[in-house]
Symmetry: C2
Subunit: 254 residues, 2 copies
Amino acid sequence: MAVILPFSPKPLPGDPPPSLPALREACANCQLRELCLPLGLAEADLDRLEGLVGGRRKVARGQALFQSGDSFRGLYAVRSGFFKTVVASEGGRAQVTGFQMAGELLGLDGIGGDRHACDAIALEDSQVCEIAYADLERITHDLPPLAHQFHRILSREIVRDQGVMLMLGRMSAEERVAAFLLNLSQRLQARGYAAQALRLRMTREEIGSYLGLSLETVSRTFSKLQDEGLLRVQQRELKLLDLAALRQRVEACG
Amino acid sequence: MAVILPFSPKPLPGDPPPSLPALREACANCQLRELCLPLGLAEADLDRLEGLVGGRRKVARGQALFQSGDSFRGLYAVRSGFFKTVVASEGGRAQVTGFQMAGELLGLDGIGGDRHACDAIALEDSQVCEIAYADLERITHDLPPLAHQFHRILSREIVRDQGVMLMLGRMSAEERVAAFLLNLSQRLQARGYAAQALRLRMTREEIGSYLGLSLETVSRTFSKLQDEGLLRVQQRELKLLDLAALRQRVEACG
DNA sequence: CGGAGGATTGACCCGTTTCAACTACCGTGG
DNA sequence: CCACGGTAGTTGAAACGGGTCAATCCTCCG
């Protein structure tokens, strides 16, 4: 899911002094600009957006950006790095509900209950832009198109989740893995990376958790698709050799 | 998920003539009042809310309130009756993603893409209150607490979906069925019905689709739980004889 | 009263899980 | 620089849960 929200970072403590012009251009220079800038928002509103972003925050690999039960403060846009979100049941069972890459949003789950409903864990050293929810409410009030954009983001997340449900409920292991890889590929492509070559940021176990499969089944399915010439696996380095064929595997869903 | 939104119906064509006072009190008299009225909204704002609801609409059993691909016009609050939402993949595979009862919202999936991403089918003759999205945007702008409330609703839907994912990814057939029944029971109870006795509005096949199981497995699981004394099944009439034990089945998720 | 759709139950089969052994890789410290 | 240990990944064999197919029953409604 490509996130469309006006997020941009303020300089980190170590960065050059935040001269006003620099701040002013933070969003404009942000690599995530196309991903973050809402459609149809006037350039003149950019400075309003600058004020929205409370700060940048680093999250080391393995660390939690927030955890289930943490009181909700605001949203986070991934600026660099890679995250997973994990929900846990009372019984201690856990499931990965999503992977987030640059430009995608974290924390939407927290609005409803004033505390977060899942853990957000960095899978590599990452940076996020933070935005206090109170600020977001204020600016969406002042800029109605932004409110609309925000509703769209929330709605798209709901639609995305429904797609995951369909996958978990109806697809075979091979179809799930193929769908997962195609989704990753497509999101990477949207960020300017090659669609065929990708480095997995997560373990087989995390993939399996997301797909509702055991880590062994994920591994076996990779091997099988490799044997059939659809891709090449080398640890976490993947080459998707036949995107069309992968697509067929998924669409053969009837 | 209890929906908290200010929806109320205008009279149907067959209803007594819509005198202004009647309209004025439509929301106030609505049976869904506690479910729909946003927390902390001033009574004085009630008349604003009245104007929000574009109309009531009847949907006969088996008919679609909207279908995937329909252009998005607005949201619907179930006033009476029962719905299912179904997402379909290109390959023709379909999955029930949820069941909606009185007071719950339909159509949130449409905001993101300007067209609906699922079908909403009435499982019995139903009525919904319709609200045009444009009106909703206007009123949430004028009443910030309402905007907040709306965000909460969207966020809760995301959290709900994550719960379903966990169920589909990690739970056994028995756990899924138990969780499903407890969820139904809880929602019925919130509406003033008994928590133990319920009439299923959907077929075994629809339950199975929602739970990622075959209809036969659903049936077998009902029988098994009945044999163990946890419930009594008679076609679509259910008695939950031991809620605590059912809860244990679900929570034994580790 | 009869038919059709829904529900139940049984038998069998298959995909996935589980358990287990083994291998590859990476970072660390000697 | 290499040896080592731990983590991640692969692969095999066996067990099992749930799916599929099929027969039967129920019951609601025309």
